[in-house]
């Protein structure tokens, strides 16, 4: 059932409808149905690392909640490791790990190791495997000196690493991460990302993460899914997302002195000058290296930094671009740069291979992801 053809995580026409009661006046209530998730279908193969992003309230966490068995879908079919999460919550729990970025599940007043001992017993992890996993996680996440420290004394970054270890002690096949780097300093973020890469490479753990940090996605995920208003708007490689959003990064250059705007090779261009400091915009999909090299060659450079595009801005731009394109002949421009990341996920879209999807999947909804044009 969990063969690579069908995917490790499968969603077919999944919907979640909430009934919201709103006060419309004194003692008057209005009932309204809100479609938090609207006929979403996707597949994630075992061992993939996928970013799941979208504006606040787009339906990200609702989807994750359906995948983890917290919420029951209103319609459609969900399978994780062949298990229906809403019906077999406890069996599923043994096979998944969940980290809620802003909510620790560690025991506040007790040493970190105590939380792990609880996981050991609650998940009935065999002793040998527990010890082995603990040793490996402690090493990879640098927790050795923290095990005897009460959780309340840990820094945010230390606690996040502690939480990630707690979620992995029982060897889950899939790890859901909800904003794993939120609020962390640069060093902690790097540690968390490096660990996730290793985990994925070493164990083949499937990772699905929601984030507001575009760097999380850039450094970890070959594939991104964008959700907005409950609908899957994009599913493809990150480069495609940048293209779709026509997003730009900013290079902030500090020169030795005030100079006229730097003459940069197009499409890079100076967007702002303030004394010796200049801001250059360049396409997010391009490397900054050639640009930096060229400036360093010709200008007295003191310092520079690259500012990542804000993820919300990228998504907004992308959604906007799609609005504009709707109805146009979307020929070729986007599909081409799908790059290598796409290969492993080719069969993952209902609609790509109509034969693979159940008949009840509505796949004629007007929300074609851009790359479908070339399918």
């Amino acid at each position: 059932m969990t063969g690579s053809e069908s995917g490790f995580i499968e969603l077919d026409g999944v919907e979640k409808v909430f009934e919201v009661r709103r006060k419309t006046g004194f003692m008057k209530r209005e009932r309204r149905q809100v479609r938090a998730v609207d006929s979403i279908s996707f597949r994630v193969a075992s061992g993939e690392m996928v970013g799941y992003i979208g504006p606040n309230g787009a339906g990200k966490s609702t989807t994750i909640k359906m995948l983890t068995g917290i919420l029951t879908p209103s319609a459609g079919r969900v399978r994780v490791a062949g298990i229906d999460p809403s019906r077999d919550r406890i069996r599923l729990a043994h096979r998944i790990g969940v980290v809620f970025g802003q909510r620790t599940t560690l025991w506040w007043d007790l040493p970190l190791i105590d939380s792990y001992r609880l996981m050991h017993r609650m998940y009935r992890i065999p002793d040998a495997r527990y010890r082995e996993n603990l040793d490996r996680l402690v090493e990879l996440l640098g927790l050795a000196d923290l095990l005897e420290v009460p959780v309340r004394q840990l820094s945010l970054g230390q606690r996040m690493r502690g939480d990630i270890a707690a979620a992995l002690l029982h060897d889950p096949e899939v790890l859901y991460l909800d904003e794993p780097t939120i609020g962390l300093d640069v060093v902690s973020k790097a540690k968390v990302r490096e660990f996730l890469r290793e985990l994925n490479a070493e164990r083949g753990t499937t990772v699905l993460l929601t984030t507001h940090d575009l760097q999380d996605i850039e450094q970890l995920c070959k594939r991104v899914m964008v959700i907005d208003h409950g609908r899957l708007m994009y599913d493809g490689p990150l480069t495609g997302l940048h293209e779709a959003g026509e997003s730009e990064r900013t290079l902030v250059v500090d020169l030795e002195r005030e100079l006229p705007p730097i003459e940069a090779p197009a499409p890079a261009r100076v967007v702002r000058v303030d004394g010796p400091r200049q801001w250059l915009a360049f396409p997010a999909a391009e490397s900054a290296a050639p640009l930096v090299a060229r400036i360093a060659e010709r200008y007295p450079l003191v310092d520079l930094s690259v500012r990542e595009p804000d993820i919300e801005a990228v998504i907004a731009k992308m959604l906007h671009a799609m609005e504009d394109n709707r109805g146009d002949d979307r020929g070729d421009n986007r599909g081409d740069n799908r790059g290598d990341g796409r290969e492993g996920t080719r069969g993952d879209h209902p609609g790509d291979h109509p034969g693979d999807t159940p008949d009840d999947t509505p796949d004629d909804t007007p929300k074609p992801p851009p790359e479908r044009a070339t399918a």
Binding site: T68, L71, I90, V98, F100, W108, L118
Partner: protein, 273 residues
């Protein structure tokens, strides 16, 4: 996993989590001592009130002080046990509001057990202790011809009473899933219930007694069986065997509460609120 398996799993998870809370509370030993003492004193005030009343009169509703103390001891001890075991369930509403309820649903253990063990606090032994002391005093002071059946009825009352109050806690928690901010309603049945049962049924109006006997059957915690033990008439006519019916009532309450909880949880998982 059958019902039996689920129960065993639940008890196991409950013990694991409760153990963690006990260890957590022990990290602040001074606070722990203070709260145990505080719990004992606060919960004992009700009995001080009863003593004050009896400093002015010899009987209340026709019942003597040892007889009222008997009711008090049974009500407080059984409520104390339920409060110790499941009292924290009144925080379900706030857990749903702050979102931490979701973290319980991704653990491989029954949610009821996890919520029940949440913030397990040994300080609640304070209430049980003072209730048991009063009960002990009442047992040696009441004027009763003790038969084997009547002696046996005392522990049966305590256990059944604890089960009935536990069912109220579970039902209250289920109610909170639908009305998270209205947690206090539950207090009317839990704290209100144990207060009510500290006084003789003859003190209350017949309608109230009927409601507490047939609708929310708290009367089977102590009133009905205790009236039989003490040889006092019960304000509402009941067949004789009902004096021994508390375990059955407890079972029925438990089943209904379990059903309510299941309904609540299903609703939470389909509405997310």
């Amino acid at each position: 996993m059958g019902e039996r398996g689920a129960l065993a799993e639940g008890v196991r998870a409950y013990r694991l989590i409760a153990g963690m809370w006990v260890r957590s509370s022990m990290t602040y030993r001074a606070s722990f001592a203070v709260t145990v003492f505080g719990n004992l004193t606060v919960t004992g005030l009700d009995f001080v009130g009863i003593l004050l009343m009896f400093s002015q009169v010899d009987s209340l509703g026709g019942w003597s002080l040892p007889e009222v103390a008997f009711l008090y001891g049974l009500s407080v001890t059984s409520f104390g046990i339920a409060d110790l075991l499941l009292g924290s369930m009144e925080t379900v509403g706030s857990r749903i509001r702050d979102g931490s309820f979701d973290t319980l649903l991704v653990r491989p253990a029954p949610v009821l057990a996890q919520v029940g063990a949440d913030r397990f606090a040994l300080r609640r032994l304070g209430r049980i202790t003072q209730g048991a002391v009063v009960l002990g005093w009442a047992l040696v002071s009441v004027d009763v011809d003790w038969t084997a059946a009547k002696v046996l009825l005392v522990p049966v009352m305590v256990i059944s009473g604890a089960a009935i109050f536990s069912a109220v806690f579970v039902a209250g928690a289920a109610f909170q899933i639908f009305a998270q901010d209205a947690a206090e309603v539950q207090n009317a049945f839990t704290y209100g219930g144990t207060t009510l049962l500290q006084y003789p049924p003859s003190v209350f109006g017949k309608d109230l007694v009927r409601g507490v006997t047939f609708m929310v059957p708290l009367a089977f915690v102590n009133w009905v069986p205790a009236a039989h033990v003490l040889g006092r008439p019960y304000p509402v006519a009941l067949p004789g065997w009902t004096a021994y019916a508390s375990p059955l009532v407890a079972l029925a309450c438990g089943a209904l509460a379990g059903l309510a909880w299941r309904t609540g949880l299903r609703s939470y998982r389909s509405t997310g609120s």
